[in-house]
């Protein structure tokens, strides 16, 4: 981390009269009477006034305080922090594609419509599903959309049903999305292998259950090998199988959710399909369905007739809109550029190396860090801090110490079934050297835990700020700057 001068807030370096952008003069006669009847503000109190130089320095310095994928290894489990190809950025900035108003007549936007339709087709092919909507803006949004489709089907068939089954290893957005859809969540326990207990599922699956939400491979990186049987149990009572596609980086090109009897899933273009995370979005969460749910897809859908693409709004069974316009179009462009770069062999290789890299790390750290589940894992693995706990060291301490090694820590906040979790997903875009650097750092930290635990408890030492008081932040929230 570069140790720079403390960077103030923009409001603290602001001084009256400055602006960073010159506007052209008004070229029409100025009329003051049009202000009549308008509630005009006196001022925008506290709004910053700085020059372009100060803007450039401010944001350049702020950027240097960020760790990022372009800087180094970023093994956040279930986030798939793979390299973001730069040609994708160039594509998304093309004015001919990005400068188009969403409400322009379709005959003037045939290029954009064709691109979206192509992406839909490619995602159908990859997932083995029948139809796709690109409208949802992120994974959680796709989950909500998928659950709404399921509900709409059940409703149309007389009974929306009451419950959704979710494994205890699931990501927090799963129960949250089910809840917003009006369902009550029932938890399915994981068995000793870390996978869904079939007995539990048999018992919980009734005709009041609308769906099972499953992540495959699950958040432990373990493939639900019984997935077809699981689907059969759910289908036998008229329920749907929803798959959280966040972990598609372990499957793409090797196996298809559609063949696993999944009825609907969402994809994360900002995970599997390399679009950048941007510090927290924008992502894109397209939803893919089997024919049975196709009539309920969000409106509009893109159709083709006589070589012309158009938006079809005449969809009486549709759940409606989940977002304005058509989706995260520029993000879709980046993902499409990525798929074109990979081709079918490249897609398969992506998955194979993602799984290779993760298993390499797993084998190298087994015995040094505790692995709660023995089961084979695919693109990610979950260790815990159990061994290091004996020296008073937690996964938090291990993570903070990793920062001193110039590495980003793994995911810690889930799955809930592993206490002190360290969920590691390297992705396929890491070199052997970077993997080995991480492995060596983790080994060194384990040694430090035994020989010098205080060093870990007070980590990080070399970052821009040391450990931050999150308790104080929540207890006395300061959520904006204010003039003193």
């Amino acid at each position: 981390m570069i140790n720079v001068i403390r960077e103030p807030l923009i409001f603290e370096i602001s001084s009256p009269g400055k602006s960073g952008f010159r506007l052209p003069a008004l070229d029409v006669p100025e009329k003051l009477e049009i202000l009549e009847g308008l509630p005009v503000r006196e001022d925008i109190e506290g709004f910053p006034e700085v020059s372009e130089t100060e803007i450039t320095r401010h944001f350049t310095r702020l950027s240097q305080m960020n760790y990022c994928v372009d800087f180094g290894f970023y093994p956040l489990g279930s986030c798939t922090m793979k390299y973001n190809p730069k040609v994708n950025e160039k594509v998304a900035a093309m004015p001919g594609l990005a400068g188009v108003h969403p409400l322009a007549p379709e005959k003037l936007t045939q290029g954009n419509l064709e691109l979206m339709k192509t992406m839909e087709r490619l995602l159908c092919e990859i997932t083995g599903m029948d139809a796709v909507s690109l409208q949802p803006a992120a994974g959680a949004h796709g989950e909500l959309t998928g659950m709404m489709l399921i509900r709409a089907y059940h409703q149309a068939h007389g009974n929306p049903r009451k419950y959704v089954l979710i494994p205890d290893s699931a990501h927090g957005t799963n129960p949250s999305s089910a809840h917003i859809c009006g369902y009550t969540v029932r938890e399915i326990k994981s068995n000793e292998r870390g996978t869904i207990s079939l007995e539990d599922l048999e018992r919980e699956m009734t005709d009041e259950v609308a769906a099972l939400m499953v992540t495959n491979p699950n958040t432990l990186g373990v493939f639900e090998s019984d997935i077809c049987q699981i689907a059969d149990i759910v289908h036998s009572k008229g329920g749907f199988v929803y798959m959280d596609g966040a972990n598609l980086n372990a499957l793409a090109g090797v196996i298809r959710p559609g063949d696993m009897k999944v009825d609907v899933l969402h994809l994360n273009l900002h995970k599997t399909f390399s679009t950048p995370h941007g510090g927290g979005g924008p992502g894109s969460g397209p939803v893919a369905v089997k024919k049975i749910l196709e009539p309920y897809l969000p409106v509009p859908i893109i159709e083709e007739k006589d070589g012309q693409f158009y938006f079809n709004y005449n969809r009486p069974q549709s759940i409606g809109r989940v977002k304005s316009f058509y989706g995260q179009f520029l993000v879709v462009l980046k993902a499409l550029a990525y798929l074109l770069a990979l081709g079918p062999a490249g897609l398969r290789e992506m998955t194979e190396i993602a799984v290779l890299n993760s298993n390499y790390i797993r084998k190298s750290l087994e015995g040094i860090y505790h692995l709660k589940y023995d089961s084979p894992t695919l693109h990610e693995c979950v260790f815990s801090d159990k061994f290091q706990k004996e020296f008073g060291i937690s996964n938090l301490d291990i993570s903070k110490r990793l920062l001193d090694y110039g590495l980003h820590p793994p995911t810690m906040s889930f799955p809930l079934i592993v206490h002190g979790a360290l969920m590691i997903e390297p992705t396929e875009t890491e070199s052997r050297r970077d993997l080995d650097l991480f492995i060596e750092a983790m080994k060194a930290i384990d040694r430090e835990a035994r020989e010098n635990p205080e060093l870990l408890r007070t980590a990080p030492h070399i970052t821009y700020v040391r450990r931050l008081d999150e308790v104080q932040a929540a207890r006395n929230p300061i959520l904006r700057w204010e003039k003193k």
Binding site: V87, S284, P477
Partner: protein, 448 residues
């Protein structure tokens, strides 16, 4: 093209360490019968030049840039200062994830904190979040939030709210047993007071209105707020053209409890509809019900100021099904762009830009309504959008205008019964006087 830095030699050695013969062995847990035996039917692989050519070709298939456009209605064409692209494209802003490890994410977190502050300053409210997907989902989240706060099932939504925003509200509220009632608009193009009065009752959580609304008309928020509060309901305002806040009084000062909306105008290209940028701000007392991420200020172990994501017990990764929203990944990079944009324009620039938009729109309104047969539909005051009424159905006129290279406005007939002869016209600082004059000239010809 491959982005994989693992060589064949690496592969062999890694497989040896793992203790398997081949990569295929690592997939043994997948059911054999459904494992793919062949490669998928996908295009590519393409080289970088071929990728660029592919997309350039599709760009040429789009003919939009050959037209002079006056389209708005939730997506606005404003100038974007060069610094916005330049600074936001830095890898340190593009390629990190959510700032869950704050010690190495102070850049992202400080930007969020500044964004939140700017939104509070513009809206006149106390707290803002780090972003939502767009204005439409913001409107949906806002009514759900009001429902959680007031615990009453009736939600009033003005029909002068953007039709797509209303559609998203219906989709979100349909499964939750909530009653959504639409309030009509009056002859001025504003929320009909009589209609509102008869709809408000003790079971109402919220009145949601848009200002400037879909017709471009600025609502009397103070009056609407008083009516809503008299019935113990919240006033929520959704804004699709936030540039209006550079000129108009902050809704928070006029009685709004929650303000949400779209910030695409602040530094985002038209993008064919996405990614855009939703925002939400509220009064202090509602903070625990605010959806989305929030950055807060704190100190580190050495007393240095720093920023962290905070109040996470509202969110899905902690609260799961009891969370205020399921939102996880939001629009952070778009919020970065908006932050750079707003700080670059600054207090002077934003006020001046709003003034340019207001004056040019007034000029256009005057020129266009001077044409025989064209009349201003609504008398309520406007900012940079307005509705005109024509002697015949707008669809006939717009076809002719298109033939002359002009996209004159948005049809209202498909969303509003009785407005088939009307169109919504939008003016921004990108419309020079010449362009507006040409529009007027061509329109006059077409109407003859």
């Amino acid at each position: 093209m491959s982005y994989i830095p693992i060589s064949e030699k690496d592969k062999k050695e890694m497989l040896a360490r793992i203790g398997v013969e081949s990569v295929a062995d690592l997939f043994c847990c997948l059911p054999e019968s459904i494992r793919l035996k062949e490669l998928l039917d996908l295009p590519g692989p393409l080289s970088e030049p071929e990728i660029l050519e592919y997309f350039e070709k599709r760009g040429k298939m789009n003919l939009y840039d050959r037209y002079l456009s006056f389209l708005g209605g939730g997506a606005y064409d404003h100038f974007i200062p060069a610094v916005v692209d330049y600074l936001s494209s830095r890898g340190e802003f593009v390629s990190p994830y959510t700032p869950y490890q704050p010690e190495v994410s102070q850049g992202t977190l400080q930007v969020i904190f500044e964004f939140q502050t700017l939104i509070c300053q513009l809206t006149g409210l106390d707290i803002a979040n780090a972003s939502l997907y767009d204005g439409a989902t913001g409107a949906a989240e806002a009514v759900l939030m009001a429902n959680r706060i007031k615990n009453k099932k009736r939600l009033l939504v003005a029909s002068s709210v953007n039709p797509e925003y209303r559609q998203v509200i219906y989709t979100y509220t349909r499964n939750l047993g909530l009653e959504v009632v639409e309030i009509p608009y009056d002859a001025l193009g504003r929320v009909d007071r009589k209609g509102l009065d008869s709809a408000l009752n003790s079971q109402t959580s919220v009145l949601l209105c848009q200002s400037p609304n879909y017709f471009g008309v600025v609502e009397d928020l103070k009056a609407l707020g008083e009516l809503a509060h008299n019935h113990d309901a919240l006033l929520t305002v959704v804004i699709s053209e936030p540039l209006s806040l550079g000129l108009l009084e902050a809704p928070g000062k006029l009685g709004a409890d929650i303000v949400t909306g779209e910030t695409q105008s602040f530094g985002l290209p038209l993008s064919y509809g996405g990614p855009y940028l939703g925002f939400m701000a509220c009064k202090k007392e509602f903070v625990r019900q605010l959806p989305g991420r929030i950055a807060g200020q704190t100190v580190d172990t050495e007393g240095r100021r720093g920023f962290v994501l905070t109040l996470s017990t509202r969110e899905q990764h902690i609260r799961r099904e009891k969370a205020t929203s399921n939102i996880c990944t939001n629009q952070a990079h778009c919020a970065l762009r908006a932050t750079i944009y707003l700080e670059t324009l600054g207090r002077q620039g934003l006020k001046k830009l709003a003034w340019l938009n207001l004056q040019k729109a007034a000029y256009a309104l005057e020129k266009l309504t001077a044409i025989p047969g064209v009349r201003r539909k609504f008398g309520g005051p406007v900012f940079n959008e307005f509705v005109l009424e024509f002697p015949v159905d707008w669809s006939r006129i717009s076809k002719k205008l298109e033939g002359k290279g002009i996209l004159g406005g948005l049809a209202l007939g498909k969303d509003y019964q009785g407005l088939e002869k009307c169109a919504l016209i939008t003016i921004t600082e990108k419309h020079s006087r010449e362009k507006i004059d040409r529009f007027a000239q061509v329109l006059e010809e077409v109407l003859k």
